[in-house]
């Protein structure tokens, strides 16, 4: 992974509609993507994921802000910047009346791949997306999964510096999803990839960095390892064959609280700076409780996601409420 920045987004804002009072669909977003990085874009429906992606790829122009692709401003030099982008929108942009080969050839020409390199480029794109056997078939007759692959092949045919994929695994079966994830990881060797999804494990499986967007604002931007850290909480789960004595457990250094989940299982909360796992294991053996399971409790990505997105909303509501009270008081 090198340090050159391929995508730089500064103060990106986009309004829909003409009323100046309305809330922007994308509100002052800043981020960067480096070469070889896979950035996951997460968010509930209507959060502004697709709008952001369409702006990065030049399909929409921002109300404010700047987007630079590989050092080229997309508003100043759209042609040059777009040559470095491959985009798969939510609905793959396919001409259904063409065969896969014809379609990819058109895409190759559209992206100004020189005539002698076209066959090669089409072959490579087909191979990478597992389309080698369906080249002669009409796109209209392909299954949804294959159509999605044709869409991805279209996005990578000119080996762009930046690949933007909007929900690339929608409508695929589990095996295809694994293949596509593998493909995305492979792409990240030479390209930067931005992908949006609302499937959380997908982010864990493919991305280096995660950004959660909610109501047009960036609410979280973290690396995967940072995210995993957020998932760890300061509690352990202990399962034993015999009943434990909670007072003995409470006496261990660092343990704050012990709560009984069922007859053979307790949840032990501890101070975040001290991990009492080793001590607990030792005492369990000494007391003859017979250790069955000792695991750190983890919050799932779902829980974090829900926490972050709902916390934002309640904060907003509170602001609104206090605002209302103030106006009431003023009245």
């Amino acid at each position: 992974m090198t340090n050159d920045i391929l995508i730089k987004v500064e103060e990106l804002t986009r309004y829909y509609g003409v009323q100046t009072g309305s809330r922007p669909a994308v509100d002052n977003i800043n981020f960067e993507v480096r070469r070889g990085e896979v950035l996951g874009f997460l968010g509930p429906n209507g959060a502004g994921k697709s709008t952001t992606m369409r702006m990065i790829t030049g399909n929409l122009s921002p109300s404010h802000g700047r987007i630079t692709i590989n050092g080229i401003d997309i508003l100043d030099q759209p042609k040059k910047a777009k040559a470095d982008i491959g985009f798969l929108p939510e609905l793959p942009p396919l001409y259904r009346e063409l065969t896969v080969d014809e379609y990819l050839q058109f895409c190759a020409r559209l992206n100004r791949i020189s005539r002698d390199k076209q066959t090669n480029a089409i072959g490579t794109a087909k191979e990478r997306c597992g389309l080698s056997d369906v080249g002669k078939r009409l796109i209209a007759n392909l299954s949804k999964g294959y159509q999605q692959r044709v869409g991805i092949a279209q996005a990578i045919i000119h080996s762009p510096a930046v690949v933007v994929l909007d929900e690339p695994t929608v409508g695929l079966d589990p095996i295809q999803i694994r293949e596509i994830r593998h493909l995305i990881r492979e792409l990240s060797n030479e390209h930067s990839v931005i992908l949006s999804t609302h499937i959380l494990p997908e982010v864990q499986a493919t991305c280096d960095r995660v950004q959660i967007i909610n109501q047009g604002r960036l609410v979280l931007s973290d690396t995967i390892s940072g995210l995993i850290q957020r998932m760890q909480t300061s509690s352990l789960r202990l399962r034993t064959k015999n009943r434990t004595d909670n007072n003995i457990l409470l006496a261990i250094e660092g343990v704050v609280d012990v709560s009984v989940i069922d007859e053979n299982c307790v949840q032990i909360k501890h101070k975040p700076e001290i991990n009492p796992a080793a001590a607990i294991a030792k005492i369990t053996v000494e007391q003859g409780w017979e250790l069955l399971e000792l695991t750190p409790d983890r919050r799932s990505l779902e829980e974090i996601f829900v926490d972050i997105t709902t916390a934002e909303q309640t904060a907003d509501e509170q602001v609104e409420k206090t605002g209302n009270k103030k106006t009431e008081a003023a009245a």
Binding site: Y15, T57, N59, S61, P78, K79, R96, L110, N111
Partner: protein, 250 residues
């Protein structure tokens, strides 16, 4: 790049039965009209031979044929232009073109050339039919050429108007109906011009028909040519602007 887009457009047209049906219907209809005018000429021939300075074979057969064809094509062109942008918008394939390293002008010119090439293809049988008369007589090649030029310019304007209307909507049918209405209005605008005196010159000038008729008479006036070229280029510029506006705030 423009030609890549045009070739794709043309190819897609021929992949649907629509293009073939339209070609067949146009050729069939025009052949029928052609035979009708020949029949008319044969009936008139004895009287024409007697009259001094009588209209020739070109005036009686070729000019009416071209004139009728133009009306038929006015009905058909909206069906060809309706899908140009609106279909891409509806099936969301427009983003493929939008994120490719090409300008809006190239997209519009590519689309225009694609449909224009098809329309020219449609015109080939109509243009060649009168030439068969050379086997039994002589035709005025100058008049034939100027009539043909008129048709080409007229059809190019039809295409550019249709293309612009197609950029306005995501519904091909809406585009077809609107284009048809607009074309017909521009076609018959000179009717209003001929009745009233006030402003009739303007209406007459704006009419598609009043610039086509001189060419059918063999009058090659630069005013008419410039009218068509202006109409075509303004429609193309408007289309580019409209497509560009898709990305802007609205």
């Amino acid at each position: 790049m423009i030609f890549t887009l045009a070739a794709r457009e043309l190819r897609s047209m021929f992949l649907s039965p629509m293009a073939w049906v339209i070609l067949a219907v146009i050729s069939g209809l025009c052949a029928y009209f052609f035979l009708l005018y020949i029949e008319l000429y044969l009936q008139l021939q004895p009287r024409l031979a007697a009259a001094p300075n009588a209209p020739g074979i070109t005036d009686v057969i070729v000019v009416p044929l071209f004139s009728t064809t133009a009306t038929v094509l006015l009905l058909v062109t909206p069906l060809l232009t309706m899908r140009l942008i609106s279909e891409e918008r509806r099936s969301q394939t427009l983003s493929l073109l939008m994120s490719a390293p090409i300008s809006m002008t190239e997209i519009i010119l590519g689309k225009f050339l694609g449909v224009f090439a098809f329309v020219l293809l449609m015109l080939v049988p109509v243009a060649v039919m009168p030439l068969s008369l050379l086997a039994g007589g002589e035709i005025d090649m100058g008049l034939w050429a100027s009539g043909l030029l008129g048709q080409v310019l007229l059809l190019a304007s039809f295409c550019s108007i249709g293309l612009y209307v197609s950029t306005l909507t995501a519904q091909p049918t809406v585009a077809a109906v609107a284009t048809f209405g607009l074309l017909l209005l521009l076609w018959v605008l000179n009717l209003a011009g001929s009745t009233s005196n006030e402003g009739s010159g303007v209406l007459n000038y704006l009419s598609l028909l009043s610039h086509y008729q001189p060419l059918l008479k063999g009058i090659f006036s630069s005013t008419d040519i410039i009218y068509y070229l202006l109409l075509i280029s303004s429609c193309l510029v408007l289309s580019v602007r409209r497509l560009d506006a898709d990305r802007l705030q609205h």
